[in-house]
Point group: C2
Chain length 234, copies 2
Amino acid sequence: MKQYSHWDHVFKLDPEKPISDESLKRICRSGTDAIIVGGTDGVTFENVSDLIDRIRPYELPCALEVSDLEAVVPEFDTYLIPMVLNSQDKHWLFDVQHQAIKEYGDIIDWSQTLAEGYCVLNPDAKVFQKANCTVPQAEDVVAYAKMAEHLLKLPFFYVEYSGMYGDPDLVRQVAAELNETRLIYGGGIQNAAQAEEMSALADTIVVGNVIYENIEAALETVPAAKRKKEDGVR
Amino acid sequence: MKQYSHWDHVFKLDPEKPISDESLKRICRSGTDAIIVGGTDGVTFENVSDLIDRIRPYELPCALEVSDLEAVVPEFDTYLIPMVLNSQDKHWLFDVQHQAIKEYGDIIDWSQTLAEGYCVLNPDAKVFQKANCTVPQAEDVVAYAKMAEHLLKLPFFYVEYSGMYGDPDLVRQVAAELNETRLIYGGGIQNAAQAEEMSALADTIVVGNVIYENIEAALETVPAAKRKKEDGVR
């Protein structure tokens, strides 16, 4: 079984946002399954290096979600390559990844490199605007999930509400389509109840912004996600 | 082992082009591994139905390369879904496929449905123009192959020179990148010598136009491809 198939809960840390040593320690010792480092803007080699150096001592799995080639730091366990399925441009779906592979293909460790099929559903999110997305209908999202599972056989399908809590009904419809491809839910999880709700539907939930807004609430999402999994959901 | 991993040689029949019963019989009894039905223009439900009904009695594997949703006939063993990697438009890489899945996703038999990562290398080909392709450099093609193999894990990478004999050096470079993903070569194979040359490099060669121009030469490509494989190449 692949390491990431145990991930029920992950925290996503934005290298542009400051975090105290004490908060970082609590996040890393929270019982979460992994840390993803990633952000839309202001991701640099320096701030990524700094963050991974501070996370590494806690010995939990670390993934870098690659958004900027200049910021690929070679100390992560896993590199996640987002492909924005509902971008209007081939650029964000395929061409940036192609350019990256053209440049770095010979040194990439493919066993550590995993594609994420992203579906960005919050039109106010920075990533939605940056990647020139369109708002898909529910049936579009379901068809993206089918493509991810059956045609592209992607390891991850990422329903990203970035900054906004999502629609559980849509997440449920997507979950029903996925078997081999793991469903990641991210966006707007602010408390244990929301973590529990989305954990009942998605394989992995990602908790991000609330770390910087309310660390106590962020920490409570970990046992909530684990509790839901122990109930045997998904 | 998957059925298509035995394919050394396939004939591609264009449903728009007439073929006599005698020629069709010789093609189907040639020892080729499979027939692909597909074309760029003028593919209709009627001409595809007509052709598959004429091929079926010969009991060899038949694949439909889907180019027009209106022409998807439900009698094939395999459905090949081309994704044009070097198109400039997301449309030909991803969106037509997404629309098809949105419409027909519930009735698709996924075990019969396989994505082909297409790289179209002849700027004079109809498919190049229709899919608004760019001419990639050798290193672009190699990077596409790496994406197909490692990131997208596509079953097929299709080097398509459509109507023009290709560059064996480039095919060799691509072949060196592929292990799990099978390399299909198509384009301009007119005789046994060319069949032998490309068979030494690619997993599968596709022979098309010459069927309609010189059936004797077309038939000679089958033993040529098989001979090369028996030599133990690839």
